[in-house]
Amino acid sequence: MRTNGPLALIFHTIFVVIMLAPILVVCLVAFTPEGYLSLPTTSFSLRWFRTIANYPEFVHAFWVSLGLGALSSLVAVLFAVPAALAIARYSFRGRDTLAALFLSPLMIPHVVLGIAFLRFFTAIGIGGSFAGLLVAHVVVVFPFALRLTLAAATGMDRSIEMAAVSLGAGDWTLFRRVTLPLILPGVISGWALAFIQSFDDLTMTVFLATPGTETLPVRMFLYIQDNIDPLVTSVSASVIAITMTALILLDRFYGLDRVLAGKNDPGR
């Protein structure tokens, strides 16, 4: 294969710089020692990170996001594992329709989902509650959990299971001691990707969150609507750091390219 010429490398450099610039500028401004938006020129300061502690609504929103992300992705995985095993192993009538239904939250704009959930939860009397938010997040992150579990279950070597059955393993033992350990990397990656999706969701959550159940992206969004100051950059930098940590873990566990390739084409 031919290698890249100088022109291609210049294009590539500019491309990468533009891709990173907005993220870098947020992280740099977060360390400004000044009281206004500026790039730190003389020294780095943690004052705006310390200031976050004086805004309990940001701290509270962080815990809501963390709890919501962990819980909704866990519930999504619990629903996704049996569904993925069924879809991967049995060819039954309606299988393709089921798979399409389960992946449909990827196709439906989140603004429509937010409206639908808001309407539904208000009608059944759980509008603005954490429970409603949780159920909504489970549905939205379910496709991510399902897809990675499905990939693991499809690629699994069935002969190991057959060996276990021939040695007298019952259904539950078979699942707990053989099947689950084999698909576990896929399940954990599905959980992690689902967590990131829940942790980052703004468009749907902004319809459902009320002052007590605001998530961090919602809090940040509402804050930015009023004014942009170094405080919101230090909060963003913290969010970026958390996501990066999850990304690195995901890369170690499973390979980021496989995770992202799964995320690529919605609804197919």
Binding site: R2, P22, I23, P82, S91, F92, V111, R119, I224, I228
Partner: protein, 293 residues
């Protein structure tokens, strides 16, 4: 998946039993709410009486006839189309360049370009708001020092700014899609063309482009549908006056409280997107049937 063994009745029962919890969740919390939203768009609403559960076409009539909505939907799709074009024109060459890099660099830059996909959209858009920031924002300073522009351009609260920030947010989807298409291309074909005397531009135009076109097009569908329904970026960069479908629906629901009208806007957006996505998918699959075999 088609390799799964044929099933008897008992297996089918097991399969349905295993999918039952997820199926009940989806019917209860996705299908029913969506149906209720479609119903909502036919309800009446008044400043003092609130929502009246009747069946009228008032909201749909308003959306169809009021030029405000036509302008807003036109703006939404214009922004989505421009965003799609920019990601295709810049993302496809970048994917091609990435694919020609050696192993270690390739995975490093792939991570750098695709990683932002998982970083909060609010944080990424905030970055653009900082870069644009008024008349002496960094972007304007850079463009002026390069002599490309004489006076500062307005980026905040303009469609230009929204399109730039949105293109940045959506770029990883395009790179990923073209990248996936490139993985199916045999590099020897390029070498064959080279040995037969083709120049670099002929190779790009006659060999590479036709082969990655399905990837560009499916990337374009993803980018277009996500851009047309984007909320955070138009809301932050576009501000309160530059409304697109998603931000207008948000306003109707949480500020004006005219839920039925907001529901009509959202349902129309959903229907338009489904038609566009399904239609172009069908077109692409017919045009490139051999690639999808």
């Amino acid at each position: 998946m088609s390799a799964a063994p044929a099933t008897d009745g008992r297996d089918a029962r097991t399969a349905w039993l295993l999918t039952a919890p997820a199926l009940m969740l989806f019917v209860g919390v996705l299908v029913i709410p969506l149906a209720m939203t479609v119903m909502l768009s036919f309800h009446d609403w008044g400043q003092y009486k609130g929502i009246e559960p009747v069946f009228i076409l008032k909201n749909w009539h308003e959306v169809a006839t009021d030029p405000y909505f036509a302008e807003m939907f036109w703006r939404t799709f214009r922004i989505a189309l421009l965003t799609t074009l920019i990601t295709a024109v810049l993302g496809a060459p970048e994917a091609y360049i990435l694919n020609r890099m050696s192993g270690r660099w390739k995975s490093f830059f792939l991570l750098v370009i695709l990683g932002p996909l998982l970083i909060s959209v609010v944080a990424r858009t905030l970055g653009w708001a900082l870069l644009f920031g008024g008349n002496n924002g960094l972007v304007n300073k850079l463009l002026m020092s390069l002599g490309l522009i004489g006076s500062p351009l307005p980026f905040m609260f303009t469609e230009t700014g929204v399109v730039i920030a949105l293109a940045h947010v959506m770029m990883p989807f395009m790179v990923l899609s073209v990248w996936a298409a490139l993985q199916r291309v045999d590099p020897q074909i390029e070498n064959a063309a080279l040995s037969l005397g083709a120049g670099p531009f002929t190779i790009i135009r006659r060999i590479v482009l036709p082969q990655i076109m399905p990837g560009v097009l499916s990337g374009a569908i993803i980018v277009f549908s996500l851009s047309a329904s984007a909320f955070a970026t138009p809301a932050i960069i576009g501000g309160r006056r530059l409304k697109v479908a998603a931000t207008l629906a948000y306003d109707e629901f949480l500020n004006t409280l005219n839920w039925p009208l907001g529901a009509a806007v959202a349902v129309l957006l959903l229907v338009a997107l489904v038609l566009i996505v399904v239609g172009s998918n069908a077109l692409i699959e017919r045009r490139y049937a051999e690639v999808f075999r």
